[in-house]
Symmetry: C2
Subunit: 434 residues, 2 copies
């Protein structure tokens, strides 16, 4: 059997530190690797997030993780994006719309879309004053009158997170980082999954937008100025569009998206955990499903966390359901206004610390066997009937639909070919190519 | 004291049936009214939704309400938009991406954005083939390759709900309704709040877009054809743009948004409940906050529901916190795969049935006193420090910011004037005008 890992980023040059302590334990699950557990000061800012059913303790896990990282001396920022006051109660401090230090090494910020709207609008007005695209109409827009529409929360939180973690920059010219760890407690698991998948998906939209702007009359006419307006307003690379052609801008945006996409499969930059209440079956089945959804979105799950079920038998049973993921326990945190965090952190199991430190291994979710001409997709949490397989582009890729997300899998050149069969067994979709 | 209700729609002609059984109980909370509890077959489709912290039982409440309405003989559809399998488990049937009947009078559908993408794209391709705007580029877009980006879930669920409840149509030419009740279990409370506010907010964006398209060179050049493409693709009024000028289209979209906005303050079309676990303080404080957020978004809360706390004292204490809202109890529903729904429905209190039947009264959230020149805004769940007040447009309106949403309050003509003072006491912001 010849295995190779799907995500090219895992082998790209800037990731070698990840492999320095490489150990490949022999296991029944094929290729595995182990990440370095220490977060060095040279390493990039890490984005950490938690997925799970509402009420399974995502916010509590996020606060706990933030407190843990801070206690380990890492500069940590908790980012929340909800009107739910739980995080503030747990943190024991008021969380405002700019990062504020709550305790040693630990800051927190609440993303508020209504406030985030204003900054890009003001930048856009400045650019417009220079380019004179809207003949003053834009200047007359009162940003404070604009409320938040559906969808804006997601888009603006993506931009805000990007600022904090800087996934778009290449390492050579990265600005000094403000935080070692950014913990994102999103609006909902559904929305976090969209954020994880955004850069990979956006590349497809970009491709079509580019061809629309380059190949149609209306595009050739309007796109050069609109492109400059958008580029300078979003201020992606903290540079200006001055002296750049449309082609330069398109290429640059493509590169940014490519780098950001790779970040989501890179343990040194992004970590995502499942959270559940092991005593509630709905919480467990949601976590299993979100595991599959996260893979569909284009990332790996680092491990599964359950709030202490006070029963060893339950732990064993649940842990088995999530194999080969590591499963660890979090201490029970009540709803008392005052939580004794020091005691809670002291009570953390070593296995939990290892997991939060990404001292973990996982297997790739896609494996290619070029001899057998098969592609195996690990798809936990889905039923056979929910998985759909398509092929466009003459056999150079597979398109897999499940969990309300499509995912494109590029086939290695020596495996291009039409699908002649597929079967779904034991959480794996095995696709046979001609 | 002279009171008048903010929302003009409450007094509009098509709402008279709502007032037929009008009783105005004398209470300490000013103007109140009582809605008709029977859902007649002539009345419009009602949209019902639930707000609350993750894990407080929104999905359970939605399924329970759907089962209850169906048992009362109302054609009911449960709409979910999440990968969380809880609703399917509770409903005891597979929920697909088209409405399917699960039991008598009760259908269910799972909105899947990846599927919903395709239909408008295909319509857009057809329109484009006619208008030849993109010289074939649009025809080359493989919709199946496009994944779901952040924000799309919200936008497409708004369009899908609109189709089911038809808030945009005026009554004269409304199509025969498929369902009496549509129960929406959204992705998250945050997202549902955005949906509630969308039409009112979208009108402001529309105003600026219209002026952009009419007053700038680039707008005058491109907007007529883009407008037709968008109009025919979204297919808002099931008509075509043929023979319509840009002005016609803009006016029509404005009217649609106005009608839809009014629907969210109209008990005969929209009902929104708070859900909580009365035994958990975080669940209660989230519900209080979402109450305020819902008012900010532009709707009323019909009542508060708590899952049975098995303690009369707790019920009393919680109910007081939500006064003047009606508070009712829902029976405890376990996580067993098989729920005895008949027994559960039989055990519903009369007060719960009244609440679900909108047999309720509420006070307006904004009251104007033209003699004292004061405006009183009821804003539960917010701290004084979180509320911001602005005035633009020369004293004809107030702009209130709280809970990450802005809300514009038009002042009655005889009260136009600058703000000279404001104070926040007992959940009310009292604004004094010159």
């Amino acid at each position: 059997m010849a295995f190779c890992v799907l995500y090219p980023s895992l082998f790209s040059e800037n990731l070698t530190p990840l492999f320095r302590n490489l150990r490949v334990p022999r296991g029944r699950n094929g290729a595995r690797f182990m990440a370095n557990s220490r977060e060095s000061s040279q390493s990039p800012t890490k984005l950490v997030t938690f997925l799970g059913k509402g009420g399974s303790g995502k916010t509590t896990a996020a606060v706990l993780a933030a407190k843990y990282y801070a206690s380990e001396g890492l500069r940590t920022c908790l980012v929340i994006h909800s009107q739910d006051p739980t995080a503030e109660q747990l943190m024991g401090c008021k969380i405002g719309s700019a990062p504020t230090e709550c305790s040693d090494n630990l800051s927190a910020v609440k993303l508020e879309t209504s406030k985030m709207l204003l900054e890009p609008l003001n930048r856009m007005k400045k650019v417009d004053a220079r380019l004179n695209l809207t003949q003053g109409v834009l200047q007359g827009v009162v940003g404070e009158e604009l409320g938040v529409l559906p969808g804006m929360d997601s888009i603006f939180s993506a931009l805000a997170l990007q600022k904090l973690v800087n996934f778009r920059s290449d390492e050579r010219n990265a600005a000094p980082k403000e935080f070692d760890m950014v913990i994102y407690d999103g609006i909902s698991t559904e929305e976090t999954l969209r954020l994880i998948g955004v850069t990979e998906r956006a590349r497809w939209y970009l491709k079509y937008m580019r061809s629309m702007s380059e190949k149609t009359d209306i595009g050739r006419l309007t796109s050069p100025s609109l492109l400059k307006l958008a580029y300078d307003s979003i201020n992606l690379n903290s540079g200006s569009s001055e002296g750049k052609t449309s082609t330069d801008i398109w290429n640059e945006v493509e590169q940014i998206l490519e780098r950001a996409s790779a970040s989501f499969t890179d343990l040194s930059k992004f970590r995502c955990y499942l959270v559940m209440d092991p005593m509630r079956s709905v919480s467990i089945s949601s976590a299993l499903r979100y595991w599959g959804c996260a893979i569909q979105a284009g990332t790996h799950i680092c491990g599964a966390l359950g709030f202490n079920p006070q029963s060893y038998a339950v732990t064993q049973e649940v842990a088995e359901k999530f194999s080969p993921l590591s499963f660890a326990l979090l201490p029970y945190i009540g709803t008392d206004p005052f939580v004794e965090w020091e005691t809670k952190l002291d009570s953390l199991d070593q296995s939990t610390k290892d997991l939060l430190g990404a001292n973990i291994y996982f297997r790739p979710s896609v494996t290619f066997d070029s001899l057998q001409k098969t592609v195996t997709l690990f798809m936990p949490g889905f039923d056979k009937s929910e998985v759909k397989l398509y092929q466009y582009r003459g056999g150079s890729e597979l398109l897999v639909e499940a969990g309300d997300q499509r995912r494109i899998i590029k086939l290695p050149p020596n495996m291009h070919g039409k699908v002649i069969g597929a079967k779904f067994t034991d959480r794996n979709l095995v696709v046979k190519l001609r």
